[in-house]
């Protein structure tokens, strides 16, 4: 059993190393030179040279690589070129927002999607099945930023139900409970739009899996034993489809992380995704690398979590092959 886990952790480590190396080379290859983004009539040539030395851009490449790996693992991302502040400080304040957005939208869209998927598989040809297929295709085809822009315009401007931007209203309400409510109130539109866009694809995946499972022999036998339809659907069919559903979790995760980047841009949320975009546009090596690294870490961590859940749900992996008799 633990050989399984060792392999999973080794895989995760491999992904981590790949991200760090990709990170290092991708940004070093970037044309453009960091210092030159800080252009100010008052800067003289010698001043610019000083800045270039400050960020250690004049060391040989391999030396920079080893320092880079060591620093990445210790979360010391160096100084951001744009803000001259430790990158970790910048990202630290942004991670909670991204986590909140990612977490809620992932859980909600998977929960709603799964529940609808099972219901649709149950009544084949029913109205619900058509609705699920339609909503699924919508979430596959509608560009997320377009839907979000329209939602923002409708629900934040024409009918000011939700706040326009950011994660906290100004001036900040005092006391923890009002602040939490205020935070949630700010998060409803962004996370809600991600759920709206995401649950359809979940429903379709789950419906297809359930349809396959319901065609198996053991369902026929369970029916032959006179078990109630609910028990058959939830205790037998759903429980056996749970492991593959959790693997969809793995596949959907990178997509959701990418979705977060666009959502943070549209709703001007202070998150890691938006930070990645700004750093890339500003040729800010350390920040862009760090943001990409954090997004990668988030994906790996959730991969392992989904893996763990998958093993718990699927005895074929958890139990493996115990000795005969």
């Amino acid at each position: 059993m633990n050989s399984y886990w060792i392999r999973r952790f080794a895989g995760a480590l491999a992904v981590l190393l790949l991200i760090i190396t990709a990170n290092f080379f991708l940004f070093r290859v970037m044309p453009g030179d960091a210092v030159s983004t800080i252009v100010d009539p008052r800067f003289s040539p010698e001043a610019k040279e000083k800045m270039r030395h400050l960020f250690g851009l004049d060391l040989p490449l391999h030396q920079q690589f080893f320092i880079y790996v060591r620093r990445m693992l210790s979360f010391d991302f160096g100084i951001s070129f744009l803000s001259q502040r430790p990158v970790w400080d910048e990202i630290k304040s942004r991670i909670p927002n991204t986590l909140a957005l990612l977490g809620t939208s992932l859980l909600l869209s998977s929960a709603i999607g799964t529940w609808l998927g099972v219901k649709a598989a149950r009544k084949r040809g029913g109205f619900l099945e058509k609705a699920v297929i339609f909503s699924g295709s919508i979430s596959f085809s509608f560009p997320s930023f377009f839907v979000q822009l329209v939602l923002l315009l409708l629900l934040a401007y024409t009918f000011p139900v939700f706040p326009l931007r950011g994660t906290v209203s100004i001036p900040m309400p005092s006391g923890t409970l009002p602040r939490v409510i205020d935070y949630i109130h700010h998060l409803i539109l962004p996370a809600g739009s991600l759920v709206l866009l995401g649950f359809g694809s979940w429903a379709i995946y789950v419906r297809n899996l359930m349809v396959k499972t319901l065609g198996e022999d053991f369902i026929l036998l369970a029916r032959a034993r006179g078990l109630s339809e609910d028990r058959i659907i939830w205790n037998h069919a759903f429980r056996s489809t749970l492991p593959p559903i959790l693997t969809i979790f793995l596949l959907a995760l990178p997509g959701i992380v990418s979705g977060a980047v666009i959502t943070e841009t549209v709703f001007s949320l202070h998150g890691v995704g938006k930070f990645l975009l700004d750093s890339i546009l500003g040729h800010d090596y350390p920040s862009a690398g760090a943001a990409f690294y954090i997004l990668g870490l988030l994906t790996i961590a959730s991969n392992l979590a989904a893996d763990a859940a998958c093993t718990l749900a699927d005895p074929r992996i958890r139990v493996g092959k115990r000795a005969e008799r």
Binding site: R124, L221, R225, N235, S240, A313, P315, R316, R325
Partner: protein, 261 residues
């Protein structure tokens, strides 16, 4: 006993209409083994599923199936559902996934006992291990998962599940065709033994005539949805009337080296 009178089952997939069973009539008696023999795909399974009321949506069954005198074909779904497992049980071919892969074998049996007979949790667990023993599997199997069992062991669990609520009739649809010859023999003797001990009626559906003749009391031959010939096992084996039956008997003797009398 179950009397099936002029049962016809037709499937109309949007491609074409298929009449799988055409006015079949057969009687299934208590504590006796009735066999239906025919080439595979001849409508045998449709017959079993119409008894159970588990035909797919696009299939329609006409005719009458009398269970202890009352026609269950037209009975409402609730009563038919109540029948399943208590009155009439099913054993299928037992290909790879005849058991829910994620629930332990013992739990699946206990679950049936709890939900169908309302037995309490601890008692159901005890009964489950007894059932496993009855079908020749030790108590240690209760905690095992289906993927840890061999084909034969899985089939035994399916049988245990079927008889868990001591049904009046057991319908077996090709129960042994996926197994090797030795396990085949063991399963058939197990089934035969149960019919004798509990007085349960067994409807054995198979394409294997020698196997059928070795255990069943009466045999009906089915060809293209119609029952062409019925009769006691020896009569069918010794003096087949219908040409199709004769071909089957000839093939059976050829296989067992007895040659043609």
């Amino acid at each position: 006993m179950i009397c099936i009178r002029d049962l016809s089952v037709t499937y109309d997939t949007n491609a074409r209409k298929v009449r799988a069973v055409r006015e079949a009539s057969i009687d299934i008696h208590h504590s006796a083994v009735t066999a239906i023999v025919g080439e595979s795909g001849g409508g045998k399974s449709s017959l079993i599923y119409s008894i159970l009321g588990l035909l797919p949506p696009e299939a329609t069954a006409t005719g009458k199936i009398l269970f202890e005198g009352s026609d269950i074909l037209s009975a409402p779904e609730a009563t038919r559902r109540d029948f399943r497992g208590i009155k009439v049980a099913l054993v299928t071919q037992g290909a790879m996934n005849s058991l829910t892969p994620v629930i332990s074998v013992g739990e699946q049996i206990a679950e049936t006992l709890r939900t169908r007979l309302g037995t309490r949790r601890r008692e159901a667990a005890v009964k489950a291990s007894e059932l496993l023993e009855m079908v020749g599997l030790g108590p240690s199997f209760a905690v095992r998962f289906p993927h840890e069992l061999s084909g034969g062991e899985k089939q035994r669990v399916v049988i245990a599940l079927a008889i868990s609520c001591s049904p009046v009739f057991l319908l077996a649809d090709e129960p042994t065709s996926a197994l090797d010859v030795i396990t085949q023999a063991e399963i058939i003797t197990l089934l035969g033994g149960m019919v004798r001990e509990t007085g349960m009626g067994l409807l054995l559906v198979t394409h294997d005539l020698p196997l059928a003749s070795s255990v069943s009391d009466s045999i009906s031959v089915m060809h293209q949805g119609k029952i062409v010939e019925s009769g006691p096992a020896e009569k069918i084996m010794t003096s087949p009337l219908h040409p199709h039956t004769r071909d089957l008997v000839f093939a059976a003797n050829l296989a067992t080296g007895r040659g043609f009398q």
